[in-house]
Symmetry: C2
Subunit: 438 residues, 2 copies
């Protein structure tokens, strides 16, 4: 006798009536006098199981009466198509039920539990269909990006996360005991993806973790996050990087809309929009002027935008151009890292941009300074010690092409795409100053 094979719930409705095997977990039980109903959920969907109480079905009836929500079960039964069944128009009349792993009857979280409590029990929280969808969307998004890169001859790199020095700011650096010495966790793959340029790799990408010892507790910061990075050779300016960037966003959103558009609408009430190209571009100074004219003077001492300013310029762009994205360009040198290239003839501005999506910054991109003597000057000006940067400066001493790229927070993109307000909802396992488990 061959064992019957499991059918995924999503594939049931295409089958003719007849015997099936389904495996998944118990979502709900309705234990009535004459008939019992179980909603079983698996990774692909939910289906109604039915068991009329008769003498013959007594064993199954007892098993169902004892079922704890969340238990994983395997059932066999007769698939029936019945339009009156709200859940997909099908049900399975049980012939056997095996409890594979019983759950503790008390579920520690409820759908209305706060986000911190739900994080404690993330593996249960992730069973919600909305949560499952988030990560299927993530999968599709990343695969669309990587497919774009591979089709355009990019090389995938995995840069080390253990470093001998800081790549961004000393202030937000995690220190590691490294045998007899110290190492640091990479805050970004910045230096190492740039290394691919003198290495002659041309165009590279990486999707991997980055670490910031940022003690803040905002809804959009994490101490560990997935960084999406690209870096390309032979650019003329940051405009080339922005063109790459918008093509990627279009490819990603098109794939997500195609594969998950209906489900996203149903579960998040969000219409995924594939943006038109080119995305609007507004120099930062002009953006601040526009925002000020509309009644909001950014309350910062430095030249930067603030989150409220980003929201407002995005609202302006949406109203004026009907666009969800905007590149804010040409940031002041004073608020950009030393490795951003500055304007020719005006050192106060950089060849850089931030990409704003639905009102929040998701990425920073720039042309990099590749002239080593200029780079050393800019590092000194930022108070950095060129000696600590020697290994990085060497990348520019043996020939290097003009280049640029961007780094983007994967979960930020997901959060804004699905109109979520907290990063924790779209991260598999969030890490913050007081959150290291599960």
């Amino acid at each position: 006798m061959t064992e019957p094979t499991r059918t995924l719930v999503k594939n049931l409705s295409a089958l003719e009536a007849g015997p099936v095997v389904v495996s998944g977990w118990v979502d709900t039980v309705r234990d009535q006098k004459k008939v019992q109903f179980v909603v079983l959920r698996d990774e692909s969907g939910a289906v109604q199981l039915v068991n009329p109480r008769t003498d013959e079905t007594e064993a199954i009836s007892e098993a169902i009466s004892g079922l704890a929500q969340g238990s994983f079960i395997t059932v066999t039964g007769e698939l029936k198509h019945d339009e009156r069944v709200k859940l997909g128009g099908i049900e399975v009349k049980l012939t056997s039920l095996e409890v594979v792993t019983a759950a503790i009857p008390e579920t520690p979280i409820a759908p209305d539990s706060g986000v911190d409590k739900r994080m404690d029990w993330r593996f249960l929280d992730l069973r919600r269909p909305e949560q499952n969808l988030v990560f299927r969307v993530q999968t599709t998004l990343e695969h669309a990006w990587r497919t774009y890169w591979v089709e355009h001859d990019f090389i995938e790199i995995h840069t080390p996360k253990l470093m001998a020095s800081a790549s961004e700011s000393r202030a937000e650096l995690f220190e590691v005991d490294y045998f007899e010495g110290k190492a640091y966790l990479a805050q970004s793959p910045q230096f190492f993806k740039q290394m691919a340029q003198p290495a002659g790799f041309g165009k590279v990408f990486e999707v991997g973790p980055a670490f910031r010892a940022d003690p803040s507790f905002t809804s959009r910061h994490a101490t560990e996050f997935t960084s999406v990075d690209a870096e390309i050779s032979w650019i003329d300016s940051h405009e080339d990087v922005m063109q790459l960037h918008e093509e990627l966003m279009v490819a990603g959103l098109r794939a997500v809309k195609e594969k998950h558009g209906d489900e996203i609408k149903a579960l998040f009430d969000v219409d995924i929009e594939v943006p038109s190209q080119p995305f609007p571009r507004i120099p930062l100074a002009e953006a601040k002027r526009i925002v000020a004219e509309n009644g909001y003077v950014v309350p910062r001492e430095d030249a930067d935008m603030d989150p409220e300013g980003e929201r407002r310029i995005a609202a302006y762009v949406k109203e004026t151009y009907g666009h969800d994205f905007v590149f804010l360009t040409d940031y002041d040198s004073s608020i950009r890292p030393f490795y951003h290239m500055r304007h020719e003839g005006d050192g106060s501005l950089t060849n850089s941009y931030d990409l704003i999506y639905n009102g929040v910054e998701i990425s920073t991109g720039a042309q990099r300074e590749h002239r080593v003597e200029v780079l050393v000057e800019q590092a000194k000006e930022k108070g950095l010690d060129p000696e600590e940067l020697e290994f990085y400066l060497d990348f520019f001493r043996y020939g290097v092409p003009p280049h640029g790229g961007f780094g983007m927070g994967l979960s930020r993109v997901l959060m804004l795409m699905l109109h979520q307000t907290n990063l924790r909802e779209v991260v598999y396992l969030f890490r913050g100053p007081t959150r290291l488990t599960p």
Copy 2:
């Protein structure tokens, strides 16, 4: 006037004779009395530039005479097809040459420099066509795997690398200063990819870094490596994991052979073979018996294989079955982690395997123990404190399907595929006990 666009070297031979722009770095210069030759290399290949010395070309002649190897240049010239030119049957007769970034004339490494010296200058070492090919092969391999996963409804996860406790062995753990407390770097995504099972994700994959504080200096260990992981629900035994695993290896090798087979043959003198399915499976005890019969008694006190034993059993399999791969199965419980499921009725053996490729282990896979009371017993038996594992044990208390998976070292696969003997040759930036730079 529109600026002429750069053509990649690999696309030149398909063009008709005429004006072209090429950018790349100087590979070699032959500065002769009557004519000068430069071999220019870019990310796609190499091409010969030619400059007959005349009064008209004096400026270019002088520039070429002063060219340092490694400098990045942009040239314009006339493309000519000429069968006598060994390098691809084409050359470019220069009309202009711009040095974009001059290299320091003294190159710190030579092709015959030792591997440590070359690691010091990895960005120059990576310019070698063999090295460039390694990472294009890596890109193709990973994309083939991910495409397989995506087409088979796997969900991509990014598990945290910062943990509150050890996931494998306490001995090889890196400790991180984490605000007022301590964190540890994940030695594998083991616990977190298993968490996807009670979460109802069904099938998951991850490609990401893992960290081992291993002080050894072998040719195949690193303190940071890229781990390729998959974990699937509702398996009957490790056999299901092995089937997934061999399908992935076939998909990966087929893609690599198709896209890079000729180049790998030319640069590494290796014929990429797409393996037949199923791969041979040999229980570990039998493998040790076979090896012993052939004259090698594994000199270990425990039940494990050693590298020489793996080489020998692989040689036996190659000779007997003509296969480059072999699954060694059913390892002793004594040499497997507590989370491996043991045989029903014989607790001394596990539902596990190692995958050997060209004589070296590249992966460990297993069915996981999902019965929490058994898991606790096995943890205690291994000397672990269940209290420290509470967050992990909770994954099994609220319902979980039977599951299993594998973890595989990306660079090991590349090393063995390309017949390299040192991991350092196929890692973008190697990390070892005394190697944190560049």
